[in-house]
C-alpha cells in the first residue's frame, strides 16, 4: 500500500495477480507419485491419479476464485495493513531483506559445504586409509643358500604390476637356537630413498616360483652397500659408513610358513651391533628416509609427529 502511494503511476499498470495457492506443489507431488507407481506398483499410480484429480480440482478452484466472484481470503493482507499503518514500516523491510540476505548466504554456505567436504575428503583420505604392507612369499627356503647374499626382486602388490616392484638383500644366517635366521635389508637408501646397490660381483639371476608372483633371485658377494644418488655407503650389516644417510638401512620382518620365506613389514634400524645371526638390531617404527630414529637428533631434526 505504502509502496503504491510513493509511486502512484504504477497503480494502474500493475498486473492483476491471482491469490497465492499451495495446490500446484501438491499436484506436482501427485504426478510424481503416478510416475513412481509406474516403476514400483500400479496401486501407487492409482493413489497418485486420485490425489492428482483432487489437488488439480483444488488448484483450479483457487485460481478461478476471482472469476467466480468469491472473496479472497483476507487474513494475511489484514495483518500486513495493520503493520504498515504504524511507523515501523522501514525496520520491517530492512529486517526482511536482511533475513533474505542471511538465508541466501547461509544456504549457499551449506550447499557449498555439502559439496566440498566429501570431495576434499576423497582427495586426501585414500592416501591415509588402509595403509600397511602385504606379506610377500619369497619362495622355498632352499632358494637361499646358507651364508650367501642374494638380491631378491619381488612384486609387493601383484595387481598393481611393475610399479610395486621392490628389492631386498637377503642372507640366510643358518640356524640359531634351531630356528632359521635371515638378514633381510631393504634397498631403500635412508638418505632420500634411492635404490642402494650391493658392492660386489653379481651372479646369474633366476626366477623362483612362489604362491604369488615369481621372485627374481640373484646371488652376489657384497662388501657393503652403496647408493648411486649422493654417495651414501653402508657396511654389510647396513650400518652407515660414509655419506649423508642418517641411520642404518631399514630391514624387513620375516616369517617361515610351510617351508617358504615370507616377507613382513619393514622397520627402521638405528644401528646394528654384531654380525649375522648374532647381531643385535635396535628396531624402530618404520620411518621415512632422512629421519633420525635414535640419538639426540631424533628430537631436534626433523620434527615429525
Amino acid at each position: 500500500m505504502a509502496d503504491e502511494l510513493e509511486r502512484p503511476e504504477h497503480r494502474e499498470s500493475e498486473p492483476h495477480l491471482p491469490s497465492p495457492t499451495i495446490w500446484p506443489f501438491a499436484f506436482a507431488g501427485a504426478v510424481a507419485l503416478i510416475l513412481l507407481g509406474l516403476i514400483v506398483s500400479l496401486t501407487i499410480t492409482a493413489i497418485g491419479v486420485v490425489l492428482a484429480v483432487v489437488f488439480g480440482f483444488l488448484w483450479i478452484r483457487d485460481v478461478t476464485r476471482d472469476l467466480r466472484g468469491e472473496p479472497e481470503p483476507v487474513e494475511a493482507p489484514a495483518a500486513v495493513v495493520v503493520e504498515e499503518e504504524g511507523e515501523r514500516l522501514e525496520p520491517e523491510r530492512y529486517t526482511r531483506s536482511k533475513f533474505l540476505e542471511a538465508s541466501t548466504l547461509g544456504l549457499g554456505a551449506a550447499i557449498g559445504a555439502i559439496v566440498t567436504v566429501p570431495v576434499l575428503g576423497f582427495a586426501v583420505a585414500p592416501a591415509f586409509v588402509g595403509q600397511g604392507y602385504p606379506d610377500v612369499d619369497l619362495g622355498p627356503l632352499d632358494s637361499y643358500p646358507e651364508g650367501d647374499w642374494v638380491i631378491a626382486t619381488f612384486t609387493s602388490e601383484p595387481e598393481d604390476g611393475a610399479v610395486s616392484r621392490r628389492t631386498a638383500f637377503i642372507r640366510n644366517n643358518g640356524l640359531r637356537n634351531d630356528v632359521p635366521s635371515f638378514t633381510i635389508i631393504s634397498n631403500r637408501c635412508v638418505h632420500l630413498g634411492c635404490p642402494t646397490q650391493p658392492q660386489g660381483p653379481p651372479g646369474e639371476a633366476r626366477d623362483v616360483e612362489t604362491t604369488r608372483t615369481p621372485v627374481t633371485i640373484q646371488p652376489t658377494q657384497p662388501s657393503g652397500f652403496g647408493c648411486p644418488c649422493h654417495g651414501g655407503a653402508y657396511d654389510i650389516e647396513g650400518n652407515r659408513t660414509a655419506g649423508p644417510p642418517v641411520r642404518a638401512l631399514d630391514r624387513y620382518e620375516y616369517s617361515i610358513i610351510n617351508g617358504s620365506l615370507w616377507l613382513g613389514a619393514p622397520y627402521s634400524v638405528g644401528s646394528v651391533e654384531g654380525q649375522g645371526a648374532d647381531a643385535t638390531v635396535v628396531k624402530y617404527r618404520s620411518a621415512d628416509p632422512g629421519v633420525h630414529v635414535d640419538g639426540p637428533e631424533q628430537i631436534f631434526y626433523p620434527i615429525v609427529p
Binding site: 586426501v124 585414500p126 592416501a127 591415509f128 595403509q131 600397511g132 604392507y133 609387493s156 602388490e157 598393481d160 604390476g161 611393475a162 610399479v163 610395486s164 621392490r166 632420500l192 630413498g193 634411492c194 635404490p195 644418488c229 621415512d288 628416509p289 632422512g290 629421519v291 631434526y301 626433523p302 620434527i303 615429525v304 609427529p305
Partner: protein, 272 residues
C-alpha cells in the same frame, strides 16, 4: 581515382567496424580491451618492463602445448613411458611440441625469476604494490610445483628416482612432512595412483590456480599502473611526495598525473 580509393576505404572501415560496434554495444568488451591495451604508462619504461608479459607468453605456450600433449599421453604406470616415446618418435611434429613443453618449462621459470628480479631491483614491490608481490610469490611457488609434478610424467628412471628423492625431501619437513609425502604418493609407497595424482595436479589443479592468480596479478597491474625505473627523473619528486602523503592518511591508491593530485589527497584525508 583518389575518390574511389577513399570510398573503398570507407566501405572497408564499415565492414571492419560493424561487427566490432555490434560487440561493443552488447558487451562493452571492445572498450575493455582498449582500456587494457592503451592505458597510460610512464614514458621511460624500457625493455625490462616486458619480462612480465614474456613470462605470461611462456605460460600460454605451456598451456597450449600441454593441452595438446594430453591428447596422446597416457598417465598409467604401464603406458606412460611408451606413450612419451610414441609422442617423441612416431607422431608427426610430436618431438617439437613435447620439446616446446619440456624446454618451455625451463624458459617459464627463468623468465619468472628475471621478472621477479626486475620488480625487486626497480623497487616495484613497494606501496601500493605489496599485494601484487605476494600474488607473484604464490605464482612462483605454483610454477615450481608445476615443475615438480611435471618431471615425473615421462616415467623414466631419472624422473622416477628424482620424484622419489623429492617426495622424501618433503617427508623431512617439520610436523607436516610425513603427511605431505603420503599425500603426494597416494599412500606409503609409490604405486599406481601416484602417477595419476601427479598428472591431475600438473594439468588441472595447479594450472587452474595459476590462471586465477595471473588474472588477479594483471588486474592489480592495471589498477595500480606501472612503475617508472628508479633512475627516472621527472616522476620521482612529485609522485614520491604523493605516496608519502597517501600513506599518512588514507589507503587510496596513488593517483597519476600532475601536482593537483597531492591537494586531492590532502583534501580527502579523513582528518583534514
Amino acid at each position: 581515382m583518389a575518390r574511389t580509393r577513399s570510398k573503398r576505404r570507407q566501405q572497408l572501415v564499415r565492414v571492419v567496424m560493424y561487427p566490432l560496434d555490434w560487440l561493443e554495444e552488447r558487451s562493452g568488451l571492445v572498450g575493455a580491451v582498449k582500456y587494457f591495451l592503451f592505458r597510460k604508462v610512464p614514458h621511460d619504461t624500457n625493455w625490462f618492463h616486458t619480462l612480465g608479459s614474456a613470462t605470461l607468453t611462456a605460460f600460454i605456450v605451456q598451456l597450449v602445448t600441454g593441452v595438446i600433449l594430453a591428447f596422446y599421453y597416457k598417465p598409467s604406470p604401464d603406458e606412460a613411458y611408451d606413450s612419451i616415446q610414441m609422442i617423441t618418435n612416431d607422431l608427426t611434429l610430436g618431438w617439437l611440441v613435447r620439446g616446446m613443453h619440456r624446454w618451455g618449462a625451463s624458459v617459464f621459470i627463468i623468465l619468472l625469476f628475471l621478472h621477479m628480479g626486475r620488480v625487486f631491483l626497480f623497487g616495484a614491490y613497494k606501496y601500493p604494490r605489496e599485494l601484487n608481490w605476494l600474488v607473484g610469490v604464490l605464482l612462483l611457488a605454483l610454477a615450481m610445483l608445476e615443475g615438480f609434478t611435471g618431471y615425473l610424467l615421462p616415467w623414466d628412471q631419472t624422473s622416477y628416482w628424482a620424484t622419489v628423492v623429492g617426495i622424501n625431501l618433503n617427508a623431512t619437513a617439520p610436523f607436516a612432512g610425513p603427511f605431505l609425502s603420503d599425500f603426494l604418493r597416494g599412500g606409503q609407497e609409490i604405486g599406481t595412483n601416484t602417477l595419476s595424482i601427479f598428472y591431475s595436479t600438473h594439468m588441472l589443479l595447479i594450472p587452474g590456480a595459476l590462471i586465477g592468480l595471473i588474472t588477479l596479478h594483471l588486474y592489480l597491474v592495471i589498477r595500480l599502473g606501472v612503475t617508472s625505473p628508479p633512475w627516472s627523473e621527472d616522476a620521482a619528486g612529485d609522485e614520491r611526495v604523493e605516496v608519502v602523503t597517501a600513506k599518512r592518511g588514507l589507503v587510496e591508491p596513488r593517483p597519476r598525473g600532475d601536482g593537483a593530485a597531492v591537494d586531492d589527497i590532502v583534501r580527502r584525508r579523513p582528518d583534514a
